[in-house]
């Protein structure tokens, strides 16, 4: 699979549904609707 180009300003942020570290389900659309959101991706500790 070829790597996708990263999102740019003006793009629609793709929806997701994922668990957070406490086990709660989080959706992109719900997070964004509650107010602008900073999404911070980090490499993690594996």
């Amino acid at each position: 699979m070829s790597a996708r180009a990263s999102l740019k300003a003006g793009d629609a942020a793709p929806e997701f549904e994922v668990l957070d570290s406490t086990g709660a389900t989080r959706r992109m659309s719900e997070l964004a609707a509650a107010g602008p959101v900073i999404f911070l991706f980090y490499r993690g500790h594996w």
Partner: protein, 140 residues
Amino acid sequence: MAQYAELWEKIRAAGGNIVTIAVDPPERSEAVRQQLELPFAILCDVSRKIVRDWGVFEPEQMGGIAKPAVFIVDRDGRVKFASVDREAVRMPAATVVDMLTSSIQANQDEVKRRAILPRFSDWARAIGNMLRFGLRSPKV
């Protein structure tokens, strides 16, 4: 992340939010969150779906991890600001948070402007009516 944690109150006071995303499993991320006393959520993209969809997947590293990246997403779900890799790492948290708060302020100004405009049109209609029908004083 610690830089952003220090700005948490400012972000929340402005009506914004911050969430972090890594491919680590929940136990691992929760340990990090508690150790660093992070006030925000860490999303656990174990399947790598988000990092792929958002184009920040680093497949060569350890089974595939997230590239460092910062996105500001507006209420309408659109990306307002994007920064990836070294640029994202060098971006001071305060700069990103300022962009978030000024974007919120701009939106609020827009809402206020729209709230004022109908009043202007009411005035214009009132003046138009006055010119057409003359001034009428209310009959007591």
